[in-house]
Amino acid sequence: MTLWLTLAGMALVTFALRAAFLVLPPGMDLPAFFKRALRYVPPAVLTAIWAPEVLVQNEQLPAGVVAIAAAWRWRMTFVTIIAGLFALHFFAWLW
């Protein structure tokens, strides 16, 4: 029962966030404060998702640094993933 309730809640919340501004009537504009706050949501939230897996005292830290450099240089997700996974195994072997 809890699982179904959780599932319904997650689905509702996620769709509401995605639809929020797309269902607003064309004439309505958003408060400037809100627009400014939203600008910082992706960098803050995306970083908060990956940082706990990278900021640890083992090979994940240098592998994360390699991945950040690859992402900065090439801006291609699969290059970042491949570089990061190779670096992870390389530093694990080196340790």
Binding site: T2, L3, L5, T6, L7, G9, M10, A11, V13, T14, F15, L17, R18, A19, A20, F21, L22, V23, L24, P26, L30, K35, R36, A37, L38, R39, Y40, V41, P42, P43, A44, V45, L46, T47, A48, I49, W50, A51, P52, E53, V54, L55, Q60, A63, G64, A67, I68, A71, W72, R75, M76, T77, F78, T80, I81, G84, L85, L88, H89, A92
Partner: protein
């Protein structure tokens, strides 16, 4: 028909195909991340069918991985939903940005766009709309990209659900999930304020590491947003 201009059938098909083709490099990230999400859900005790249902109705990988871990630790439903809200808050920003291109489209098209919003699809759209701001086939392009990513994602999650713990742990494929989010976060670092927001969130999530029930992500998100604001104001 996003801006009122009529779209002929053949140009609509072309836009759809162009959108679908544009996803090819992105799929190399969608597939491993989808599989990891499927594995994480069944590993935390979610029945396979419920995991697939979740993948279809929620369709947001990071929040599903986090929720699976929370459910396994016995967290209350309300907290799982709150964590989902914070992790998926970025979709609201994508929604505000896409509104500029779809505000005059029919409601059915806007709801379709809303459902298909994903980090990598949004990133593709930004590039496309910057190059072709007056493209009459915007919706068809979005649909082509969105449906391909959606379909491949579901198949990848299904593969992860079926394989379960069958992927050798020595491959350490679970690390592909944070790597995918590194790749997604870097393009948002455009100035001092956005870099500050990311740094503050990263430091906060580590500092609040021992806060129970993964509330450190929620705290870190707000710390990051506040830091971005403060840096913006100081200039």
């Amino acid at each position: 028909m996003t801006s009122g201009a009529p779209v002929s059938n053949s140009s609509a098909r072309n836009s759809f195909a162009a959108g679908a083709r544009a996803t090819l490099p992105v799929l190399l990230a969608v597939i491993p991340f989808g599989m990891i999400t499927g594995v994480a859900m069944v590993a935390s005790g979610i029945p396979p069918l419920v995991a697939m249902l979740m993948s279809v109705v929620v369709f947001a990988g990071a929040s599903m991985v986090a929720s699976a871990q929370l459910l396994a630790s016995g967290a209350p439903a309300l907290l799982v939903v709150l964590t989902t809200l914070i992790i998926n808050l970025r979709f609201m920003m994508y929604s505000a940005s896409l509104r500029l291109h779809f505000a005059h489209a029919p409601l059915s098209q806007r709801l379709t766009v809303a459902y298909l919003i994903a980090d990598n699809v949004y990133a593709l759209m930004l590039g496309r709309f910057a190059e072709h701001p007056e493209d009459p086939g915007k919706f068809q392009y979005f649909l082509g990209a969105g449906l391909v990513v959606w379909g491949v994602w579901q198949v990848a999650v299904l593969a992860g659900v079926l394989v379960g713990a069958g992927v050798p742990a020595a491959w350490r494929l679970e690390f592909a999930a944070p790597l995918a989010f590194i790749a997604l976060s870097i393009p948002f670092l455009r100035d001092r304020a956005t870099i500050g927001a990311a740094l503050a969130a990263g430091i906060a999530v580590a500092l609040f590491h021992d806060v129970p029930l993964r509330l450190n992500i929620v705290l870190a998100a707000f710390t990051g947003i506040a830091a971005g604001f403060l840096i913006e104001k100081r200039r």
